[in-house]
Symmetry: C2
Subunit: 304 residues, 2 copies
Amino acid sequence: MRVVGLAEIRAALDEAAALAAVEEAFRRYSAGGAQVTPVGHLGFSDPPGDCHVKSAAVQGDDVFVIKVATGFYKNPERGLPASNGFMAVMSTRTGEVLALLYDEGYLTDQRTAMAGAIAARAIARAGSRTLGVVGTGVQARLQGKLIARHLRLDRVLVWGRHGGRAGTLAGELGGQATTLQDLCARSDVIVTTTPATEPRLTTDMIQAGARIVAIGADSPGKQELDARILERAFVVVDSRSQCIDHGEAGWAVRAGLVDEADLVELGALLVSPMSFRDDEIVVADLTGVAVQDVAIARSVWSRL
Amino acid sequence: MRVVGLAEIRAALDEAAALAAVEEAFRRYSAGGAQVTPVGHLGFSDPPGDCHVKSAAVQGDDVFVIKVATGFYKNPERGLPASNGFMAVMSTRTGEVLALLYDEGYLTDQRTAMAGAIAARAIARAGSRTLGVVGTGVQARLQGKLIARHLRLDRVLVWGRHGGRAGTLAGELGGQATTLQDLCARSDVIVTTTPATEPRLTTDMIQAGARIVAIGADSPGKQELDARILERAFVVVDSRSQCIDHGEAGWAVRAGLVDEADLVELGALLVSPMSFRDDEIVVADLTGVAVQDVAIARSVWSRL
C-alpha cells in the first residue's frame, strides 16, 4: 500500500482529465455499468459533524474505490479544516489496497465541484452570463470558480448568512455580494452550497427559466430548496436512489409534489442532451455518487 | 494520520482485552447504543472476490471506525493472502483520520474469530468437549483454536472438501479429520467457516442438542446451513437486520421457515443469558457487525 499525501495528490490532479473522467463516470453509472453501495452515513452532534462512506466499482476497471469523507463544520473555529478523509484505491484482481490517497477531503471537494460544473453545463440556457453562488464555504468557492470558468459566466453574485464572508468570497470571485432575493432574480445559473436543514430558497424567489444546481443536501435531513420549487421544475438527479433517499428530490417526492418517475439522471441527460424551454425551471439535485470518487481517484492514481 | 502496519498491530493486540471489548460492543449494539451503517458489498467475478465496507460509531466513544475487508479466494494460488483491507480510526470530535490500521485483514479475521468464541460460549451446553470445524481456511484455523481454548474443548474434528487440507488443519489443532456426517454426529459445538453458496450441512446430519456457530454467510448469496436446520433451532443472530439481509437467517425467513420475530440478537443474549434445553438445537448466525471492528480497532489504538 502506497500512502499518497495531499501535496502529491494536488500535483497529480489534472483538472481537465479528471472532469472528463467524472462526466464519463456519470454516463456509465446511469447506464447500469457500475456497482455502487448505499451511502454510509454517520452523524455526530457534539460537536456537529458527519461522515459519508461511499464505494463503487465500475465494470472493466482495474481498480475500485472506497471513499471516506467527513465534515465537521465547527473545525475552522479550532483552526482545523472542516473537511477530511481519504480514498482507498483497491485492486479488482486481488482486493489489495494499492494506494491510500490521503486527500483530507480535497478530492471529494474537487469531484463535487466538477459534478456541479457538469450539471450546470447540462442545464444552463445558451447565452447565460451570471452565476449566483449561495453559501460561502469550500464548495461555494470551488463551484463559483469552476462553474464560472467552465460555462464562461462573467458575472458572479454571492449570498451568505454572514455578510462579511459573502463580501470576501465575492471579492475572490471578482463578483459582488447581494441579497438572496436579488441573487435569484439576476442569476442565470444558481448554485446552492449550504449545509442547511431547512429551505433557504423559497419558491417566490425563483423566476421562470431559473437553472439551479443544488449541492448541499447530501445527507438525510438536509434541504436548501423549498420542495415547491422542484414541483415547478424539471428535476435532474445525480442518482435516482440517493436523491430520493436524502436529496432535494426526496423532500419533493415524499411531499407528493414530484413523481419519482419524472426524475432524470444526470448520466442519462449527458448521453441524450435535452433542450429545455427558455422559461423552464431546471433543478439539478446532486448528492455525490461514488463513481465520481472512482473517476477522480483513478485519474490521480494513473498519474502517480 | 498515523499509518500502522501489521507487525505493530499484532504486537498491540491484547486478545483478552479485545475479546472483552468485542463482547461489550455486542451488548451495546443490541441495546441501541451504536450507529451502524448498512454493509457495503462489492462483488467481483474474474477472479472471484468480494469487498465489505463496514462503519460504526458507538455512543460516547472518542473514535469511530471505517473498515474495509476484501476476500479473493484464489489469491493463495498466486502466493497472495486471500484476505486484505484496513481499518480507519477516525475522531468523533473533528472527523480527522487518526490512524490507518493497515491490518491486511488481520483484525477482521481476529474479531470474527472472537465473535465465534463469544457466540459459542453463549450457546454451548455445559460439559461440552468436542468441537467440529467445517472448512479449512483462515477462519477454520482461528475459530478452531480460539473456541477450543475459550470453551476448554479438548477434542477437535475437522472436515473440508480437500481431505489433505483437513488433515493438515486437524494436525495443527491437535484433532482429526473426518467426514462431515461423523463430525456433526460427534461434535458438541460445530463451527462452519466456508464460503459456500449452497448448504453444506443438511438437516439429517444435525442431531438434537446440536450447537452451531455459522460464520461463512456474510454476503448475499452465501449459505452453509440448510434452512430447515434453522427451522428446528433457536436462532441467535449477531445483527437482526444484517442476518435477515444476507445471513443464514435470511434464507430461513424468506422461505417462511423462521419468523423474524423469533430471532434473538447475540448482544441481548449476552445481557440476559438463557439456559437452553440440552436437546435444543441452537444456531448462532454471525455476519460480522461493524461494532466488532470499532471494538478491536479501539482496543489496538489505545495501546499504540
